[in-house]
């Protein structure tokens, strides 16, 4: 089965997530909250735990992590290929390793997203 279009589709979708959602999330969690720009208690872990109970928040973090992983690993593969790591064997190895990282990372994110919610 030819998987390149499917993997590129995830890379493309992940590009949108990485470009827009990731910086916003980083800003909110690591700058806005600690520096008092966001009206929340920066030390209140309980606030985050409370929000984590909402399905939309779980889906958001699953999509954020999974999309960023697929985008990042695909982009890393392109960079390594452009840097000279070429050849059918090398590229197949990169495909396996980097896609495995993205898939396993996404599965881990999915596990934590549904844990305590679906099971």
């Amino acid at each position: 089965m030819f998987l390149e279009p499917l993997l590129w589709g995830l890379f493309s979708l992940g590009g949108f997530i990485t470009a827009f959602l990731f910086p916003i999330t980083l800003f909110l969690l690591f700058f806005a909250a600690p520096f008092g720009l966001w009206p929340t208690d920066p030390a209140a872990y309980s606030v985050f735990v409370q929000r984590w109970q909402e399905p939309l928040v779980r889906v958001f973090f699953f999509v954020l992590i999974g999309g960023s992983l697929f985008h990042g690993t695909h982009r890393l593969k392109f960079m390594l290929v452009d840097a000279g790591l070429r050849g059918p064997g090398v590229q197949a190895f990169l495909d396996i390793i980097l896609n495995a990282v993205a898939i396993l990372g996404s599965l881990a994110a999915l596990y934590y997203a549904v844990r305590g919610w679906l099971f």
Binding site: F2, E4, W8, G9, S12, F78, V81, D82
Partner: protein, 248 residues
């Protein structure tokens, strides 16, 4: 009147001699309004009639006179010596193609790839050929940019992916495939996308973007390749999820 000279370092390759390509230097009169092609023509006419290179229109339309000038793929008819002069003007044949002689390279591989994407309007039924196939201005605008391609192949010379993987269909053939896919008169999109949705098709492209940088007609082949990836992915997913209704 020439009041100074310019040195041209030109790559020479004479296959009949069996020797490897070497550089030959020519000192010729400099004019402020001379383009690189003028320099080559001067060498050919006054210094060394054995120099071989392609050229035709001298106005950036035919796409024949492409060469690597000081390491950059350029049309020699549109490159002023004053813009590239750094002590000497070094002229090499276009990179990534086999050299036939001096600055003349073999384009057969490109022509095979170009024909593989059917760069013409494909229709099942041409209907009444005495009638016009009406297009609105926005229909023409959809493919106008890609239709400006003059097949000069500077994009192939600039593409590191094509250099490393010669099977790659490449930038110009992809841009021209998109030109016909976007044409409302055309019905051959599915066959073209089937050809491009392969390992040696659009998926070889790693979006380096040099093809669009060197394109003398602003065709933006890199953008065309990304659009084709979207179209190929949509076609692929439609065929996976809705095999019965999958068409254009």
């Amino acid at each position: 009147m020439a009041d100074q000279d310019v040195v041209f370092r030109v790559k020479r390759y004479r296959p009949e001699s069996g020797a490897k390509p070497t550089y030959q230097e020519y000192r010729i009169p400099y004019r402020d309004d001379m383009v690189v092609l003028d320099g080559l023509n001067y060498i050919k006419d006054h210094v060394d009639p054995t120099l071989a290179y392609r050229w035709s229109c001298r106005m950036g339309i035919c796409g024949s006179c492409g060469a690597n000038v000081n390491g950059q793929p350029r049309l020699t008819c549109g490159t002023y010596v004053r813009d590239v002069h750094r002590g000497a003007v070094t002229v090499d044949p276009l990179a990534n193609f086999p050299i036939l002689k001096d600055l003349v390279v073999d384009f057969d591989d490109f022509l095979t790839k170009l024909s593989s994407v059917t760069p013409y309007i494909v229709r099942e039924d041409w209907g009444d050929l005495t009638k016009e196939y009406t297009q609105f201005p926005e229909d023409v605008e959809a493919y106008r940019q890609q239709s400006l391609c003059i097949n000069c192949m500077l994009c192939y010379a600039a593409c590191p992916v094509f250099g490393a993987s010669p099977a790659f269909v490449g930038p110009a053939a992809s841009a021209l495939a998109l030109r016909y896919i976007r044409d409302t008169r055309d019905e051959g999109a599915d066959e073209r996308l089937a050809r491009l949705n392969t390992k040696s098709g659009v998926w070889e492209c790693t979006f380096v973007g040099e093809c669009s940088v060197v394109c003398p007609k602003d065709v933006d082949p890199a953008g065309a390749l990304q659009t084709l990836k979207v179209l190929a992915t949509m076609r692929h997913m439609r065929r996976l999820l809705m095999p019965k209704s999958a068409s254009r």
